[in-house]
């Protein structure tokens, strides 16, 4: 690149950096991030997108920027690994490269890597597991019988080459019971139990499969049925388990707030997530100034910490003639309490922290 051109780009970059600092908004962050990506500074673009998402967590453009930066970093790592593999091939490097290619969704490159891998290391079952995983992902996405058949073949080969390998057997049993070949899946899960009798997940899987009925049909017929119906016959273990209900999570938050309010000196407490707030204590209604103060202060402290490069502000205490306001933030959830000057701040903060951490998975009302 011409020297003058390069100087112009760096000048523009400085201008955009300054703009992002002075007027932080998704568009200023994205403009700067795009320049970083064009200059192949993907690590900087990734950091910038993460900072931007901390300030604007709902921005779709910033998420896209983050994806793009991570994709660039993965591509760079893949190129490094390919160069290393040319010099000194090893199953470990092949596995890492295949994983990156799977993340990138580059199935052609993944197949080429696995082909090389199986040629260089014919006794290593890893390449068949990787291929099986890639095929399985496509099968679950498109429900195409051919993909399912190939996934099963790859996984069966991996299991045959290394019968003690847990991952391939687990994936194989899952695809089998989900399409309806329950008896066949049961055999594999029994082997998994013999390999590790203490594994609770295997026990759960076994009891889940016991509730399902076997169709008795051939695997190819079952896969064709899946393709024609456009849905899998049985749900996965995770999907079959009951999700934590909104009522349970919210009642936990309510109990947590009541516990905070019981501490000596605490006058009011709140839990805020997004635009919703739950309150306890001397709070009249949603217009109580305490709620606004908590929101504004938490946001200001967050920005202060991010711009000062000291990470995310997790705990903030504001003192004044009114006593103390303690705020604890974690992700999108925020808990705060107003208390007297002589109360045990550490105790209040630890209770608030517990409340926020426990409510992270709270389902929105």
């Amino acid at each position: 690149m011409h020297l003058i051109q390069r100087m112009k780009i760096w000048k523009e970059l400085r201008r955009l950096e300054q703009r992002a600092k002075e007027q932080p908004s998704p568009s200023t962050f994205v403009d700067l991030g795009q320049v970083y990506i064009n200059l192949d500074l993907n690590d900087k673009a990734e950091g910038l997108a993460e900072d931007g998402l901390a300030l604007f967590p709902k921005s779709i453009e910033l998420r896209q920027l983050l994806d793009c930066a991570r994709r660039g970093l993965r591509n760079r790592r893949a190129a490094e690994l390919r160069a290393k593999l040319t010099r000194a091939p090893s199953p470990k490097l092949f596995r890492e490269l295949a994983l990156i290619q799977m993340d990138l969704g580059d199935s052609n490159a993944l197949h080429a890597t696995c082909q090389q891998w199986s040629l260089r290391f014919p006794d290593d079952a890893g390449c068949w597991l990787m291929l099986g995983q890639a095929r399985l992902t496509s099968f679950y996405r498109d429900l195409a019988a051919r993909e399912g058949q190939e996934a099963v073949q790859c996984l069966e080969r991996a299991v045959g080459m290394d019968p003690k390998e847990v991952q391939s057997r687990r994936l194989l049993s899952e695809v089998l019971y989900r399409v309806g070949a329950v008896h066949e899946a049961q055999k594999h899960v029994q082997v998994l139990r013999e390999i590790d009798p203490a594994d609770q997940e295997v026990e759960q899987l076994l009891s889940h499969i016991a509730t399902l009925t076997d169709t008795g049909a051939e695997l190819s017929v079952l896969l064709d049925e899946v393709e024609s119906h456009g849905s899998l016959r049985n749900a996965s273990l995770e999907a079959a388990q009951p999700a934590p209900s909104a009522e349970n999570s919210i009642s936990e938050v309510r109990t947590g707030l009541a516990r905070v309010l019981e501490l000596a000196g605490v006058e009011k407490a709140t839990f805020i997530r997004g635009s919703k707030a739950m309150v306890k204590g001397q709070i009249k209604d949603g217009r109580d100034p305490f709620l606004r103060i908590v929101r504004v202060t938490a946001k200001a402290a967050h920005r202060f910490a991010r711009r000062l490069d000291i990470g995310s502000a997790s705990k903030t205490i504001v003192e004044g003639d009114f006593g103390r306001i303690c705020i604890c933030v974690f992700g999108e959830a925020l808990a705060a309490a107003q208390c007297a000057s002589d109360c045990d701040v550490e105790l209040v903060l630890s209770e608030l922290q517990e409340l926020v951490a426990g409510a992270l998975h709270a389902v929105e009302e």
Binding site: P289, V296, A300, F304, D309, I310, K315, E319, G320
Partner: protein, 119 residues
């Protein structure tokens, strides 16, 4: 002014303290002693934004003014103490025990207040 500078410089030697500064309510740096990499103008801008925003919301809610603020972040901590026409900002590293440095911070506040009155 040198007394305020001395007080700040002394506080800077307390364990875990990365920097300290006295900033006027309108955002000017009156005195500072900061570790390399910390820009006094950036700190004054950010802390005046933080204090102004917090104080405005407190006043609007009839809570009165903020006298002290403590922020605990992932990679560092900060304490802001309101003085008469200014405030003191102290930055700590993430491992510092702010409660242990309370005495030093309080002493510095007293010294700065005394020096301001004399001036």
């Amino acid at each position: 002014m040198s007394k305020i500078n001395d007080a700040i410089a002394e506080l800077r030697h307390a364990p875990g303290v990365k920097g300290a500064a006295v900033i006027t309510n309108d955002g000017l740096v009156a005195a500072s002693s900061l570790a390399t990499g910390l820009d006094p103008d950036v700190i004054s801008g950010l802390s005046s934004y933080l204090m102004m925003t917090t104080n405005r919301s407190l006043t609007e809610g009839s809570y009165g003014a903020c006298t002290k603020m403590l922020i605990n972040a992932t990679h560092g901590k900060a304490v802001l103490v309101q003085l008469d026409e200014s405030y003191l900002v102290v930055l700590f590293d993430q491992f510092a025990e702010v409660a242990q440095a309370d005495r030093e911070v309080d002493e510095t506040v007293t010294r700065i207040r005394r020096a301001s009155k004399l001036a």
